[in-house]
């Protein structure tokens, strides 16, 4: 595997009234779980959406070093958005079927296994899911695919503690460090801290820090959480 799965150079993006990304240079290591930490509005979501093709960059380069560059980018990236992006009129079963039909690397069998673990039933209508259930379902859809890159945009925000635990448990359980890279954007760390290989701090569209988590702990003698409290205003 290439050392860095994603390389970003000079990434800029402006929204009306705000420069969301001011020229980011970043390398995301392959086979690791990278946490991108930053307050709301820091630009981390924007950056991930640009990587996933949801938003168009203003300038800069993004190189994604995936194995099979011939197939559609989104076969190799599994993206979990912060908002609820699923069709509310579908049942979970229908959504699973739809994903199976659309993605070549989606395993319905895996999905059903994960659904059971997440305590979700096939007959449930997506409209009737609580926030925690919807978050768990979104993760099931993402992890039922064997993709090179998994991008999670705030997978734990506003989720009840029980669901959070389930989500992290499943995530680390399914993580294939030989073939997969996980990128997790969050504005607070708490429980996710122990699973991170690499951390990136972003604030106001600028990169503050990019380092191996354990190296950072050794150097600063602090937990990532404590560092967050210090580094961010």
């Amino acid at each position: 595997m290439n050392e860095n799965i994603i390389e970003i150079k000079g990434l800029k993006k402006k929204f009306p009234g705000v420069q969301a990304l001011k020229g980011i240079d970043l390398k995301i290591p392959a086979g690791m779980i990278t946490g991108i930490v930053g307050p709301n509005g820091s630009g981390k979501s924007t950056m991930l959406k640009i990587i996933s093709g949801l938003i168009v960059k203003d300038s800069g380069q993004i190189e994604i070093n995936r194995k099979n560059k011939e197939q559609h980018l989104m076969q190799d990236i599994a993206f979990l958005p912060e908002i609820n992006h699923l069709y509310k009129w579908m049942t979970i079963a229908e959504m699973i079927k739809f994903h199976e039909e659309q993605y070549s690397n989606f395993s319905a069998a895996k999905a059903e296994e994960l659904l059971k673990f997440m305590n979700l039933k096939l007959e449930q209508k997506i409209n009737n899911l609580s926030k925690g259930m919807a978050a768990r379902l979104k993760l099931v859809l993402v992890l039922s695919r064997s993709t090179e890159v998994v991008i999670l945009d705030e997978p734990l925000a506003g989720i009840d503690p029980a669901s959070r635990e389930r989500i992290l448990e499943t995530l680390i359980g399914e993580f294939d460090s030989e073939n997969q890279t996980i990128i997790l954007a969050t504005h607070e760390i708490i429980e996710a801290e122990r699973y991170l290989d690499h951390v990136i701090f972003i604030e106001n569209g600028e990169l503050l820090l990019s380092a191996n988590a354990d190296d950072l702990r050794a150097e600063k003698g602090k937990s990532i959480r404590e560092l967050i409290g210090e580094v961010f205003e």
Binding site: K49, I55, V56, M74, F79, P81, H85, Y87, F98
Partner: protein, 253 residues
């Protein structure tokens, strides 16, 4: 292919309510005209039977505008844009069911109307010789219907285009859509006019016309230029791919 069909199926399910309601209303209207208007002057019920044809393009306009507005509104545009599908696949899944609906409903409506008013039509044709110079050309009707279908598709694609362009802006989206809608029609006229020259060499459609004169029935052939049809077909295909490209590469969620 399988993934495209899956997308189309999903789109059809999303269109559901409007399709069913409008079909029922039109069916009820036709049924009413066919069964309940024996006392009415024959020509009236025949003519009224075609009224839904005025509404179908409006429905296409609504379907087109809603095709992506509904996705943006429910945030499901995220789901669409993270699919490993080309823009034209996603857009085809939107356009095809709408157009199929338009085609089937208008076609069925016309056929049903013609079928149930055969008596009246035969009568009208027999009276034709009295109206000097009146010509009957069935092929012309076909071309007219073709133009009607093109109108529907044109309205659909232009409305879609207008909505997509408006997403580049943060405010006044409806106003911008309307402006683009109007401007697009003008643009298409001008582009069409220019392209017409390019397509001038294309063979024309021959139409045979039967004229009934005091001397008897005679057949003449007139030629209708096919260039305008080709031009509009090319423009529509171009617009379809333009919309697809905008969706895939240029819009932000």
């Amino acid at each position: 292919m399988k993934s495209l069909i899956s997308l189309i199926k999903k789109e059809v399910r999303q269109l559901n309510i409007l399709i069913i309601v409008s079909t029922l209303i039109i069916a009820a209207w036709e049924w009413f005209l066919i069964t309940r208007t024996e006392n009415w002057p024959q020509g009236l019920s025949f003519g009224l039977g075609f009224i839904p044809l005025f509404f179908l393009p409006l429905i296409m306009l609504f379907l087109a505008y809603n095709s992506y507005r509904s996705e943006w509104g429910a945030n499901t545009i995220y789901l669409l844009k993270i699919l490993p599908r080309r823009g034209y696949e996603i857009n085809f899944a939107k356009v095809f069911p709408a157009f199929a609906y338009y085609l089937i409903l208008s076609g069925a409506l016309i056929l049903v109307n013609l079928y149930f008013h055969q008596g009246f039509l035969e009568q009208a044709f027999r009276q034709a010789p009295e109206m000097l110079g009146r010509e009957v050309f069935s092929e012309f009707l076909l071309l007219a219907y073709l133009s009607y279908l093109i109108t529907g598709i044109q309205i659909y694609l232009i409305t879609q285009f207008s909505y997509l362009v408006a997403t580049f802006f943060n405010r006044f989206r409806l106003l911008i859509s309307i402006l683009v809608f109007i401007l697009s029609h003008y643009l298409i006229l001008r582009i069409g006019g220019f392209l017409n020259y390019l397509f001038n060499w294309l063979p024309d459609f021959p139409l045979s016309i039967f004229t009934e004169t005091p001397a008897g029935v005679s057949e003449t052939t007139i030629y209708i230029g096919s260039a305008p049809f080709m031009v509009i077909a090319v423009i529509m295909i171009g617009l379809f791919f333009l919309n697809s490209r905008l969706l895939a590469s240029d819009v932000d969620v």
